[in-house]
Structure formats: structure tokens, C-alpha cells
Symmetry: C2
């Protein structure tokens, strides 16, 4: 079996943990598997490097910033390969330029274009364990790029796809994907199997187990991903293609996000092109708008509500206030104290009435809904932030997630 | 003018100092010069990385060790380029693989084979300041190598040679090469100009200002090297080809070395092949022998004395004691408390009697000489360690180094 494994920063956070990871890899070798390992920087290292740069200058040049932070993974991959070699398991650390992992030139958030498999395959055939520095790539000109936060997940999935690996194991400090945040819902359970689509929805809601681009990659190339803990040998959560068993489960998980703020524009002239005149300047300012809702009014005008990251709230308010006179917006209002609560499940497609049930549950607990948005397998409601925990717990119970799924009890 | 500059670890030891170096480089740009800069790792960083490796495993795999420590220069070169860019001076950090700087495959002490100048010249033509990560190279297979301690000096001189630079400036924390160690000889003076050969002899004696291989490189490719302080704008010491003015100076400097130990073998059979039977096993153990002296005895046997680094003293003693019965050595003796004191000067060639004067000076101070070795421009004497300071000061005065040279007073 060809296994691609990824170990996060906490898993290689100190020398003792690096040795633990080496022992874990050795076990796979003893079982006869070929192993390619992708590592993140040791916990805290990327932040230390970023601090160096931003303490030095206000705006570090992007090319050099990537060259700087890429050293974090260079260090951890070299150390892990050393640990394996010392244990008698031949291992080679490989940097992006040595494979190469080609990306575009968007420093700080580069996208992988191509991974050459020749050297990887040759080294594997020689019985080497390959330790690949995650998070980094190389442009056609030979400049070092980084893939953005969580990029090591993407490196791992992309390598698994390129090599046609049997599985891509993402080792992290949690032991899988849960039906809800266990800090909020004590009865939350680990999900044994989840579809790429569901995982995408959960990841986009801020469930930090998997970087969203890595899930997209896995979905496109159909890479089975196993999210599991580096501190135990228990199985975690398999992220795979949707199958029949998944459709039986109405709701797979409850997610929430407290990092957004709401802005409402009242009395917007309801004519063609108005939305782009509002959201064009916001996009140009680099602000990512999440939910957008527009409703007509009897007077021919429209009301428009949308959410932006809390960190961009003030800048967005300033922008729309500047636009207001020109466009003819009557009134602008905003609210930072909101939360988005979502239910996610592949089974929704086949079962009507899930949305109605969600609204009823929230109403039963006296929780007012400010915004609603839906996708095929997700329903999100924006509510007052103070009700977040209550809403998540109530939905978790109402959709039967407090108890083990039928397949497991029968 | 095309200037290659090298800044050592102390010169880029913290962010404030990196900014200082950036300002210094900016000054050269303002004067219209093209500048290629070679940087070492920030002071302490290489040791920190080595400690990580040796805390992890007893014997780190050499390939991965080089990959690990090479990050030190990657960090400092990226930071320095950022500082320059922020000041409005376009700068690019370049790693060995990006140039490339090709070396052999001797990890940890690789030798530079070739430096491609195409990219360097193109970037210089675009008005870029180039910040090259020192100390590192790349093999034909794309593995990262390091050149060994002090390797950044070699990188700088090699790049200066490859580009045909007008001067290679080595910025360090001392302001030049001195006639003797100023900590021992308060009257020691900075030498304005010194020949490659003299510098080689001084460097091999442990004068830490310039790495010896960089001087060899400079000599072969006739690169004018300027050793100077990164904390002032005062001129330092020019290391150049020997010229007439240098021959007038009898002795340029006094050096000493307390890091060696002496081993004497008495009654060694005086027959062909005996030296290789003794020194072969020592070389195989990786021990570098410095001075070797052999003298015949009336009884047809020989006495042999040699010096090794103090750190290898015990291992060498053990080795020769094991060889003794087989070879027929009568007696073995050793002494760790020795020092080597040397006088160096291109003028010696033209002036007989320098050696005699040195022996006389030592005798006048009651200092016994255990070993003598000479080269064209150097005379070294091994004495008891406790006399080191006395010997250096006495020689410094006797050869007229306490006062400024004639050229400067006239």
C-alpha cells in the first residue's frame, strides 16, 4: 500500500514528538507500506518567522517573506528524516524545488499547478521514506512560494493525488471530525465517514481539522482522506465519496461561525447593476463577502443584507457609507454580535422538511433568525451571537446526533 | 564599480543590525555601485540548529544536517532583502540552488565547483541588489550542501572571482588584521595591506578574521579582499598580491595557537615506510597532524615528534600506543600544555637571519623551544603554553611592530 501522511505543527512540536512520529512511520514500514510524509513547521515556528519579518519592516516583500517562512518546514522535514535514518529506516527530506512542486506566482497563497512524480517514485523504489516539506512550492523562475495557512494539508492531498496513493492520512491534534464542537456540545460524537461535500461545508464554516483547499483537491482527484490523531492509533474520520449509507443520515454535523458581522442596506434603488456598484468596491478592497440576501419592498426599493469577516467590518461600513449618497441608499445598519449556525448533511437532498425543522427548533428556544441561506447539503441561519451555544446544542439533539447512528447500534 | 560584500553573523545578529547593514548597502547604491551581498546566519542561529539535530539523534544524517543548517542563511538573506526593499532599494535574496552555486557532495565541508553568473548578471543589470545566502551550495542532484564553518567568506570570494568584482569586502566584528592579538599585545596595530600568502599563514594559525579557504580562493583568482568592520566606515586591511613595499617589512605579524598538543615517539626504527605506518592510521581516524619533526639518532633509530589538535590528543595517544609493539617504538610521551608561536612576513624571503633573531629573542626571555618548523614566509616555534603571552609580546617588540611602519611615518 502507498500511504501519504501529513503531520501538523503540534505533532512535530518538539524533538520528543518528532521521535514519536518517526516511530509511527517505522511501524508502517514494518508492515510493508511505502510512505511519503508531509510535515508542517514545528508549532510556533511560522509565527516566530512572521514576527521577525513584521518586526523588521511594515510590509515585507512577498517573495522574501515566502523564502523566510518556508524555512520552518525545511527544518522539521530535515529533523524528521534524521530521526528515521538514526532508527535505521532510510529516509530523505525533500523540498519543493527538489521534487519539484510547481505553483503559480501568488506569493503567500500560491496554488499548486503540477507535481513531478519521477523523483518521488525513484526514491520510493529504492526503499526510502520521503519526508516532504509541506506548505511550499516553486515557480517556473525558481522562486520559493508558500500555499497559505494550512497549506501542508493541500501538499499532502496533492501528492497523494499525483502518486495515486491508496490513502492520505492527515494526522492532527484532534482525533477526527465531530458532529459538533465538543467544547460546546459534550455529547458530540466522532463521525466515522463523511462525504467530500459535507466536509467542504464544515471546513468552510471554520471547522479547523482540514484546510478547505485540500478538501477541494481531494474531491476533484477522489483521494480518500483519513483525518486522525497523531497521539493515538484509533481510527479517525474517513472523508470519501458520497455513498448510499450517507444519504440515510439526515444531518451529519452542526457547525457555527462567530467571526462574521452583518451589514444591512435599507431602501436601495432596485435597478439593474446596483449590486455590482455596491459589491464591486468591496471586492476591490479585498474584502470577502459571505452571505448576501436581497428582498424587494412594496415601494419598488430593496433591502440588502450581507455578512463580512469581523476584521473587515469597520472598513466595509466606511465604504458603503461613502457609496450611499451616490447610489441613493436610505439607511445603513450593522451588527457585530452575530453568529452563523449551520446544519450539514448529504441526506438533506433526499429528505424535505429539514429546513422547516431547523427553524422550528430555533423558534422553540426563542432564538430569532436574522438571515437564512441554503445550499444542497447545508442550511445556515444568522442569529444573535449570545445564542450560539444554545442553538448548536438544541440542533444537535433535535437532529438525533446525541445518540450513535443506527448503523452502529443495529 | 562592482562590489561583493560579506556580512558575518554578528553584523546581522539582530533586526537593528540588519537595518544598519541595509543602510550601509544603500550608501553604496547611492554612490552608483553594483552590489552583491553575501550573508551568514544571524549570530547563534547555526549553533541553535546544530543543537536541535544533536539533541534529536547522536549522528544526524549529513544530507539532512546540511539542509537543516542552511536555513540559517536563508532566514538572514530574506530579512536583509526585505529591509532593503522597504527602504526603496530593489533587492532579491538568492539561495544557492537559485544561482546555482554548484559544489561537490561532501556534506558539511563541500567545495565550490562552479558558480553560474547568468542570473546574477541579469539581476544586477535590472538594478537589483543581490543578497546571496552564504555557506551553502547545491550538488548536481539538487541536494543542499554547506561549505563548513566560515564558508560564507568563501562564498563571497568565489562570487567576486566569478563576477570579476573590483573588490570583495569582508565585513566582520573586528576592523582588520592586526600585527598580533590585541588582547595580548596592547600595542598591536592594524595592518593596512598584507599579501595573500601572509594572510594564509596567519589564517592557518587561527587568526579568525578570514576563513583560510576563502584566502586560497582569493589568491588563485587574484580577488582583492578588504577585511573591515561593519560597525564603522574606517578602512580595514587589504589582502592583495604581494608587492615591493611588502618585502621591505621583515615581519608582518605574530600569531599563536594554543589548541595543539605534542606527541613524541622515541626510538622508532629508521627504515622506509615507517612514517606511513604511523601516520596512516592517524589520518584514517580523521585526525589532522600539523607539525612533524624527525631526527636520526646515533644508534640508527629515530625520534619523531608531531602535533595534533588538543581535542584529538587522547585518541592519538591511544592509537600510537596500540601501534607501538608492532612497529617497535621504544617510548611514547605527550604534552598538552604547549603553544605554537609564529612570525609571518613576506620580507623574510629577502632577509636572512630572521629565524636566528626569533630564537635569540625567545632565549633572552628564558623560553625553551621544543619544536621548530619553517616555511618561506613563516617561522613557528612550539614552546610551553605558559610563556605564550610573553613570547608574543617580546617578538612583537623585537621585530619593530610596536611602532608604526616606516612608510606611514615618513
Amino acid at each position: 500500500m502507498l500511504v501519504v501522511q501529513k503531520y501538523g505543527g503540534t505533532s512535530v512540536g518538539d524533538l520528543e514528538r518528532i521521535k514519536n512520529v518517526a516511530r509511527r512511520i517505522a511501524k508502517y514500514r514494518d508492515e510493508g507500506h511505502d510512505v511519503v510524509v508531509v510535515v508542517s513547521a514545528m508549532a510556533g515556528e511560522t509565527d516566530r518567522l512572521l514576527k521577525l519579518a513584521y518586526d523588521l519592516v511594515e510590509e515585507p516583500s512577498p517573495r522574501e517573506l515566502d523564502m523566510l517562512v518556508a524555512t520552518g518546514e525545511q527544518v522539521s522535514s530535515a529533523l524528521l528524516a534524521m530521526a528515521l535514518n538514526a532508527m535505521g529506516y532510510p529516509a530523505k527530506a525533500l523540498l519543493a524545488f527538489q521534487i519539484p512542486i510547481k505553483t503559480d506566482e501568488l506569493f503567500g497563497k500560491a496554488r499548486i499547478r503540477d507535481i513531478a512524480t519521477k523523483r518521488l517514485k525513484e526514491e520510493l523504489a529504492k526503499g526510502q521514506v520521503l519526508i516532504v516539506a509541506g506548505f511550499q512550492g516553486i515557480t517556473d523562475e525558481g522562486d520559493i512560494t508558500t500555499l497559505g495557512r494550512g497549506g501542508s494539508d493541500t501538499t499532502a492531498v496533492a501528492i497523494a493525488a499525483a502518486l495515486g496513493a491508496d490513502v492520505c492520512e492527515i494526522f492532527t491534534d484532534v482525533d477526527g471530525v465531530y458532529t459538533a464542537d465538543p467544547r460546546i456540545v459534550p455529547k458530540a460524537r466522532k463521525i466515522a465517514k463523511i462525504s467530500y461535500e459535507e466536509m467542504l461545508e464544515l471546513a468552510s464554516m471554520g471547522a479547523k481539522v482540514l484546510e478547505i483547499r485540500s478538501v477541494e483537491f481531494a474531491k476533484i482527484y477522489r483521494v480518500p482522506v483519513h483525518v486522525r490523531s497523531s497521539f493515538s492509533y484509533e481510527p479517525g474520520t474517513m472523508v470519501v465519496e458520497e455513498d448510499e449509507s450517507m444519504e440515510k443520515v439526515l444531518v451529519s454535523g452542526i457547525a457555527y461561525n462567530r467571526n462574521e458581522a452583518r451589514i444591512s442596506l435599507y431602501g436601495v434603488p432596485d435597478k439593474p447593476g446596483i449590486a455590482s456598484r455596491i459589491f464591486g468596491p468591496i471586492a476591490e478592497a479585498g474584502i470577502v463577502v459571505d452571505m448576501i440576501i436581497q428582498t424587494g419592498r412594496p415601494d419598488g426599493k430593496a433591502d440588502m443584507t450581507f455578512t463580512v469577516p469581523k476584521t473587515d467590518y469597520k472598513a466595509t461600513l466606511k465604504l458603503v457609507n461613502e457609496l450611499a449618497p451616490e447610489i441613493g441608499i436610505e439607511k445603513i445598519e450593522g451588527d457585530e454580535d452575530i453568529a452563523k449556525v449551520s446544519i450539514v448533511g448529504a441526506g438533506m437532498r433526499a429528505h424535505p422538511g429539514v429546513a422547516a425543522k431547523m427553524f422550528q427548533v430555533l423558534a422553540d428556544h426563542g432564538i430569532n433568525i436574522h438571515m437564512i441561506s441554503t445550499s444542497e447539503i447545508k442550511i445556515s441561519c444568522v442569529i444573535d451571537e449570545k445564542y450560539t451555544e444554545l442553538a448548536v446544542r438544541a440542533l444537535h439533539e433535535a437532529f438525533g446526533l446525541d445518540r450513535a447512528p443506527e448503523e452502529e447500534t443495529s
